[in-house]
């Protein structure tokens, strides 16, 4: 009877019809359900307000835009993090362009072979820069020190050379402009290096030819 009420094909329609004639409760149920179904056709589906569609569409589109924005932001953050990680790893593990160290290993007195050490791992970029800077400073100090030393050496024979009638050569350098001692020393050293070498050789020869007693009274050299 359920199948019949549902409109499904029933195997034995005659048997059901015969039973309905004989069974009051089944007959009552069958007729009531038919009445129920007929009445339900009168039931109208409740209708929503007309603006509900637009409200729903607006909310769906807004949510979609928000989701897209979130996905793009997440992608940008992940990309930046990956790029940063790549730079750090590359800086750490990038091989040094310098030649591998060569170490002279004495094999025998006259037989020396060079043994190559594997190139040291390139220090981090920051450490390399710091070391380079320190090396430059140290080298500058060394050169400045040497220059000053040579300048002092140059100034000492000036007092001797003045007696040798060489005022014309050194007078220009005695007139010192308002610059740092280091710059003056560098300039003097660069320009007069061959002259100082010659002067030193000349003085050495002069001192060698002096008698012993006179040598004890030498000053300034």
């Amino acid at each position: 009877m359920q199948q019949r009420l549902d409109g499904d094909p029933v195997c034995d329609q005659d048997a059901i019809a015969a039973h309905l004639l004989l069974c009051p409760s089944c007959r009552a149920y069958y007729q009531a359900v038919q009445l129920l179904e007929g009445s339900l056709q009168e039931v109208k589906l409740a209708r929503p307000r007309p603006d509900l569609t637009e409200r729903i569409v607006a909310q769906v589109l807004a949510e979609r835009r928000h989701a897209l924005r979130r996905r793009r932001l997440a992608g940008a953050v992940v990309g930046m993090a990956a790029g940063l990680l790549l730079v750090i790893v590359a800086g750490r593990f990038w091989p040094s362009p310098s030649q591998p160290d060569s170490v002279v290993v004495p094999l025998a007195k006259n037989n020396l072979i060079e043994e190559e050490r594997p190139a040291p791992r390139a220090p981090a970029a920051r450490t390399s820069l710091l070391e380079t800077g320190e090396a430059v400073v140290a080298l500058t100090r060394q050169v400045a020190g040497e220059t000053l030393g040579r300048t002092r050496l140059l100034l000492s024979p000036v007092s001797v050379a003045a007696n040798l009638d060489n005022d014309g050569i050194f007078a220009d350098f005695i007139e010192v402009p308002a610059r740092s001692m280091r710059q003056v020393g560098q300039g003097v050293s660069a320009e007069l290096e061959p002259v100082t070498d010659s002067a030193r050789r000349a003085i050495d020869l002069f001192l060698r030819d002096l008698p012993p007693a006179t040598q004890g009274n030498q000053t300034g050299l």
Partner: protein, 180 residues
């Protein structure tokens, strides 16, 4: 099915007109089911909105080989169930009765229809759901089984018991003779 698949594809691409078309197509049925399950018009509008948001969020998971309506009705039933469990039971709403006032029972058939609606509202949740999905929404047993996630045999049993309870109430109200 092809038409639905094409519409869904356009919705996934963000086509506003496709989204509007899909909402228009199913809005009345979703709202009608919500009203009958929640017995409250305002709640039904809120839940209807929520249902469609969930539909579009999970549209990619819809099985293209199956019809769209049972899938959407399944989401509707679940949302209504959640809504009911989160609030206290409300008495039948005056707003709901207000709908009936706009359509007064001018004859016996209309009055019977109104009595049936009241009787259905008194049914237990799963019976009421199955009854409405079958008699008002016109879904087949297999589709109802998909919506309520129970076997077809269980759906048929629930529908049979729902009919018996509605009949009993109508007989109690004198709308249907006890024995013919």
């Amino acid at each position: 099915m092809v038409d639905e698949a094409a519409l869904v594809k356009r919705c996934l691409q963000g086509d506003a007109e496709a989204i509007r078309a899909l909402v228009d197509r199913f809005q009345t049925e979703v709202f009608g089911l919500c009203v009958r399950l929640l017995n409250h018009r305002h709640d039904a509008e809120d839940v209807t909105q929520e249902v469609f948001l969930r539909v579009f969020r999970s549209l990619r998971r819809w099985d293209k080989t199956r019809p769209l309506k049972p899938w959407i009705m399944g989401i509707t039933v679940n949302r209504c169930r959640t809504w009911v469990s989160q609030r206290q039971n409300r008495p039948e709403s005056i707003e709901y009765l207000g709908d009936l006032a706009n359509d007064p029972a001018t004859d016996d058939a209309a009055e019977l229809a109104r009595e049936i609606r009241f009787a259905v509202a008194k049914l237990r949740s799963e019976y009421r759901t199955v009854f409405i999905l079958y008699h008002e929404q016109g879904l087949a047993y297999e589709e109802i089984a998909q919506v309520v996630k129970h076997p077809v045999g269980t759906v048929k049993t629930w529908l049979h018991r729902a009919r018996l309870e509605v009949l009993e109430r109508l007989q109690h109200r004198g709308m249907v003779a006890k024995d013919t």
